[in-house]
């Protein structure tokens, strides 16, 4: 891979990293599979694009966050107030958002090529020093770092601790006078706020908003979180947040390499993320199954050996007594069968 290709992949990884952090919050901290994400991603994208076209790109990012958070609140209220199953609640929000997003954007896609972008000020400031792509990189890295730092600090406050405990042991939280319903709503709002911001950033970074681009975002985020966990994301919350960002970058590098060697075409991307999630989530169960089948095999061999020993002891006894080889015959069969 050429340096510029790596640069682009890394930048894409950072652009999508807040999506991964959002999924980390809903999936790992709240212990919920939140499907709102596909909808709130597009919502952030649509809001950001509409604002940028109207000449307010920074406002677009802010409102992208707010809109995402609102979507998360709706899902949270469906779960906690209406007592709807979390998976279904996410699907309800996602489905409703599909229409909302088209209304907000005014069509299935919009180009932002001529619209102002949130990082424009910095491009002007760094003129002659940094290339546009470098400014974009610095902008996104600083933004992601700042948000991760704030989140890590929050998760170590008393409220943050309460939120983490809500996903860990809800009964105990209620017994500790923690309003778990509030924690879930706030947690989902924060998660989808980050997802909305991801969509908002992406619209401006890529120069277009497309209402099809939200599909499969849950899988992309999950894949990043899971890859991040290979880099130590299970050690604690701060590690979890940072590793989700790392996971997002690594995920893009993997995809880019696969595209480069023509191993896959871009149509296969969704399949790849689905496979990554399925393989890694299924791995522990498969590993246990393999381990227990190995144990079973060893146990069976031992049992067979034991049976053989018993049989030969019996034939040894019976040959001296009656001279009949009948007892040895079945065990001979067993050994030849095993040898085949």
């Amino acid at each position: 891979m050429s340096p510029s290709v790596i640069f682009d992949a890394v930048m894409l990884g950072f652009e999508y990293s807040l999506l991964a952090v959002g999924i980390y919050i809903s999936f790992r901290i709240l212990d919920m599979a939140d499907l709102t994400v596909d909808g709130s991603f597009c919502l952030g994208m649509a809001v950001s694009a509409t604002c940028a076209v109207a000449g307010h790109p920074v406002l677009g990012l802010v409102l992208g966050c707010v809109a995402g958070a609102a979507a998360g609140c709706v899902t949270g209220l469906l779960i906690t107030r209406a007592k709807i199953n979390p998976l279904l609640a996410g699907i309800i929000s996602m489905t409703g958002l599909y229409s909302v997003n088209i209304y907000v954007l005014g069509g299935p896609n919009v180009s932002l090529l001529d619209a102002p972008k949130a990082y424009d000020t910095f491009v002007t400031l760094a003129k002659g020093v940094l290339k546009v792509s470098q400014v974009k990189m610095v902008f996104i890295v600083v933004l992601v770092a700042a948000i991760v730092a704030v989140l890590a600090a929050f998760l170590h406050t008393e409220s943050g601790l309460a939120m983490r405990a809500t996903g860990d042991n809800e009964d105990m939280c209620r017994a500790s006078s923690i309003n778990t319903n509030l924690m879930k709503v706030v947690g989902l709002a924060v998660a989808n706020c980050l997802v909305g911001l991801t969509g908002a950033l992406l619209a401006q970074y890529q120069g277009y908003a497309d209402m099809g681009s939200g599909t499969g975002m849950v899988m992309v985020g999950l894949a990043s979180v899971i890859i991040g966990e290979l880099f130590g994301g299970r050690r604690g919350v701060t590690a979890g947040l940072v590793c989700s960002v790392v996971g997002s970058v690594v995920y893009r590098l993997i995809i880019q390499s696969a595209l480069m060697v023509n191993f896959i075409d871009s149509n296969a991307l969704k399949l790849i993320s689905a496979c990554i999630v399925a393989v890694f989530m299924g791995a522990p169960a498969v590993r246990d199954a393999i381990r227990s089948s190995k144990q079973k095999k060893v146990a069976r061999e031992k049992a067979e050996a034991y049976e053989l020993a018993l049989a030969s002891a019996a034939t040894a006894g019976s040959t001296t007594a009656a001279g009949s080889p009948a007892g040895a015959a079945p065990s001979d069969d067993a050994t030849t069968e095993g040898g085949r």
Partner: protein, 280 residues
């Protein structure tokens, strides 16, 4: 330290817990209708420690659930420190009321560290929700409190609670339940899942913590010996009623057989309990 465990200085004439005419029927109007509580009256004065015994399904846990707010009773009142809390949601009552359950997995968050669990419990009595949970003086305080349990947990402050044994987890849970000076502590067979050795240690710890803090406490147990020796009152339940309320004076010199006889006389049948332990 002493300020943490000092008794509440509220007027000693007002009962900490008042339960009046509590009734609860599960599945009313259906073939499985069950009258779990049939008019319960209990009063606990500040600092009192009462043990509760009774047959299986006598309604002991249901009474605790009504006091804690996990279920809303059909009739009757629950007052804690003079306030009528009958319809207050459980998590709001939990600010002044702590519970420990039988299952050691229930009282702690497994993926949080020992220190974080305790900090979380301590935090409910404070109001600074955006302050860091693990400030230095807080950490030192938690360290000291863990050390006072005598389970060596102060050395394992940063291990996840999920890796501790049942007895260790129950010790952490007990500390969490009492660290905020609750007005009322409810223990529902909190040693039933432990081995005899751990049971002894947790009961000793319970005694120590409750008497040090003069915490008003109710403890459900299946060990009649413990029910007579621990605390200063024994309540006997059957069929959703309190059939005997044995005061400290009456308890003195009373044996397990006397308690069984009392039960038979008041309830009209033998104490039928498959878990009951008759050891002295």
């Amino acid at each position: 330290m002493t300020s943490q465990t000092s008794p509440t200085t509220s007027t000693d004439t007002m009962p900490t817990l008042q339960v009046l005419g509590l009734t609860k029927t599960f599945n009313p109007g259906t073939p499985v209708e069950h009258h779990a509580l049939n008019g319960i009256d209990v009063t606990l004065m500040p600092g009192e420690f009462a043990c509760v015994v009774g047959s299986n399904g006598a309604g002991k846990s249901t009474m605790f659930n009504a006091i804690a707010g996990s279920i809303i009773p059909d009739g009757g009142l629950v007052r804690i420190a003079g306030e009528n809390v009958t319809f207050k949601p459980d998590f709001k009552r939990a600010r002044t009321l702590s519970r420990v359950f039988q299952d050691p997995l229930k009282g702690t968050a497994p993926n949080l560290t020992v220190a974080e669990n305790v900090a979380l419990a301590y935090g409910r009595s404070t109001k600074s929700s955006l302050a860091f949970a693990m400030r230095r003086e807080r950490r030192e305080m938690i360290h000291d409190r863990l050390a006072s349990l005598g389970f060596g947990l102060e050395e394992r402050m940063d291990t996840k609670v999920g890796t501790l044994s049942g007895g260790q987890r129950q010790a952490v849970t007990l500390l969490m339940a009492t660290i905020g000076n609750p007005s009322l502590l409810l223990l529902d067979e909190h040693t039933a899942a432990l081995d005899p050795e751990a049971t002894r240690r947790i009961l000793d710890l319970t005694d120590k913590i409750v008497s040090a803090g003069r915490i008003t406490t109710m403890m459900i147990t299946h060990n009649l010996g413990d029910a007579l020796s621990m605390g200063d009152r024994t309540l006997v339940m059957d069929d959703g009623r309190i059939v005997a309320d044995v005061s400290a004076d009456e308890r003195r010199g009373m044996g397990v057989d006397d308690l069984l006889a009392l039960f038979r006389a008041n309830a009209g049948h033998d104490l039928d309990d498959d878990k009951v332990l008759l050891e002295k």
